[in-house]
């Protein structure tokens, strides 16, 4: 099952993990052999301290893009559940931004699907970050070439 949320509020990674374990039932799903999780959080910048990071998105397209990425992962690897949460709004250093969790019978598909989703999300989900610094400056975060390269490596085999 695929579940996508784009939201301002924080998420509880431990609770999300339990949901992946249980796969909709009240007890642990014994078809699950492995769960891979990635979370991203706001890093501070030593040379120019951050007041907060503003995350803007394209309502409607964001959810559609994340859903498509999750569906591509589910078509490519035999996963059980995929959960994606991405926050929007103003986030301070240390706060969680994104959660990607994948449960599967085996670890290789859980790892691959989780990393694939993060790499594709980074280059195709319509989010834009603007840094608001303690000194009053603000600047839009530039896309990184390395993210484009990481996304492109999935175009070949697994």
């Amino acid at each position: 099952m695929i579940s996508i949320s784009v939201q301002e509020q924080d998420f509880d990674t431990g609770e999300e993990y339990r949901r992946l374990q249980q796969a909709g039932s009240g007890v642990n799903n014994t078809d699950v052999g492995g769960i891979a999780i990635f979370t991203g959080q706001v890093r501070d910048l030593a040379d120019n301290p951050l007041k907060f990071m503003r995350l803007e998105h394209y309502p409607g397209m964001t959810e559609k893009s994340l859903q498509q990425t999750a569906e591509q992962a589910a078509a490519r690897w035999p996963v059980i559940d995929i959960r994606i949460i991405h926050r929007i709004g103003d986030l301070t250093p240390g706060q969680q931004i994104v959660f990607v969790g994948v449960s599967s019978a085996h670890r290789d598909s859980a790892f691959s699907a989780c990393e694939f989703i993060m790499d594709i999300l980074k280059t195709s989900a319509p989010f834009w970050k603007k840094e608001q610094h303690v000194n009053g400056d603000s600047s839009w975060v530039d896309a990184k070439d390395v993210d484009q390269q990481r996304a492109e490596r999935w175009q070949g085999g697994d």
């Binding site: 991203g40 995350l55 803007e56 998105h57 394209y58 409607g60 397209m61 559609k64 893009s65 991405h86 931004i97 994104v98 993060m118 999300l121 980074k122 280059t123 195709s124 989900a125 319509p126 989010f127 834009w128 970050k129 603007k130 839009w140 975060v141 530039d142 896309a143």
Partner: protein
């Protein structure tokens, strides 16, 4: 048609949404971009970086993708989520 701007483009243009008729002679999103660039210096500056991405009806597309008057088109800089 509805044209949306996001991120630094929205900020530079000072506009998030534009409701307009499909301009004469515009058949693709690339042509729509060229048409918008010709609206004035501010438009040329914001949209002339060569680094503008397109979505038509909420799918990311290439510049040769056709557009019609009923489409929702979005122009934005490379995405930086995650």
């Amino acid at each position: 048609m509805k044209v949306l701007f996001f991120g630094s483009l929205r900020e530079q243009l000072g506009i998030g949404e534009l409701n307009t008729a499909l301009p004469d002679g515009v058949e693709t999103v690339g042509q729509l971009l060229a048409n918008l660039q010709a609206q004035g210096d501010e438009w040329k500056l914001a949209l002339g970086s060569g680094n503008v991405l397109f979505a038509v009806n909420q799918d990311m597309v290439g510049e040769n993708t056709p557009v019609s008057d009923s489409d929702e088109v979005a122009l934005f800089p490379p995405v930086t989520g995650g």
